[in-house]
């Protein structure tokens, strides 16, 4: 069974009230959603909180998900809106994020520096550009899928990715041929 048809089957069961099916959807899509939110928000603790809120909202709205729609794009869309709402409200808990940051696995020194440079460059990007980059360059979303998830025109997604990519490459000091 293909991943898409398995998703469709699980969505149909969850729409019928099966928490077991929904639990499998959580298992299958938590990595994509959390990865996207980590890159879109910049801190892991907030991203995981938002991912949990996203799944909770998804449970309430699962009846509205049309047959054949991409589940991961739908989830990332809900997560992105939650991220924008959270970013607008001031005073998020920074101490917890700091603690979470300390638990992150350390890479080699050079790699660690690259990663810090990437994070700093991502933080500089406008929210929409950052979300497009997080989906298409980091998570292998197609441009069309990202456009669906972020509710943006395809052309806008493409231009955000192109500009965002150029700025990230510049920040990493990569000569892009």
């Amino acid at each position: 069974m293909s991943p898409a048809s398995l998703d469709e089957e699980l969505v149909a069961a969850a729409q019928g009230g099966s928490t077991e099916a929904f639990s499998r959807l959580v298992e299958r899509h938590q990595q994509a959603l959390r990865g996207f939110l980590r890159r879109a928000c910049g801190d892991w603790a907030t991203a995981d909180d938002l991912a949990q809120e996203t799944f909770l909202a998804a449970w309430s709205r699962i009846g509205r998900l049309r047959a054949g729609a991409s589940v991961r794009a739908w989830l990332c869309g809900i997560g992105y809106n939650k991220h924008l709402t959270a970013a607008r409200s001031a005073g998020r808990e920074r101490a917890r994020a700091q603690r979470y940051e300390e638990d992150r696995p350390m890479a080699s020194e050079a790699r660690h520096e690259d990663r810090l440079a990437l994070e700093a460059a991502m933080a500089e990007l406008p929210a929409e550009q950052r979300a497009c980059v997080a989906l298409c360059l980091a998570a292998d979303f197609s441009h069309a899928e990202a456009a669906e998830a972020l509710d943006m025109p395809l052309g806008t997604v493409k231009s955000h990715i192109s500009r965002g990519r150029a700025r990230l490459m510049q920040a990493l000091g990569v000569c892009d041929d």
């Binding site: 928490t19 298992e27 990865g35 309430s60 990663r115 990437l118 490459m169 990493l172 892009d176 041929d177």
Partner: protein, 102 residues
């Protein structure tokens, strides 16, 4: 995909969550079950209040009718209640005795 893209992707991959995370999934499902329980309780509360209100509204009409009917039907209702209790208590054993269940 260029080498620059590969480098970018490998850096992004450092932030990738694990493909399976039981702690995260359990936390989500706990919240989902709590939400479901709250919704069930809210629904039952509303239904109880609505039922109580409806009964209160029709009680003046219903009461005389119930009194009149109950005198005639009391023996039959009593027998039915007794039969229902017996069926619930002996249900499994009776079916076994009749060979309907292993």
């Amino acid at each position: 995909m260029t080498e620059a893209d590969n480098r970018l992707k490998s850096l992004f991959a450092l932030d990738e969550p694990p493909p399976r995370d039981a702690v995260f999934s359990t936390a989500v499902m706990e919240k989902v079950m709590r939400r479901r329980f709250q919704e069930d309780v809210a629904l039952l509360s509303v239904a109880s209040v609505a039922g109580g209100g409806a009964l209160w509204a029709v009680w003046p009409t219903l009461q005389p009718a119930l009194v009149a009917v109950s005198q005639g039907l009391a023996p039959a209702l009593g027998a039915l209640a007794l039969a229902a209790c017996a069926a619930v208590i002996l249900g499994g054993r009776a079916r076994t005795a009749l060979g309907l269940e292993a």
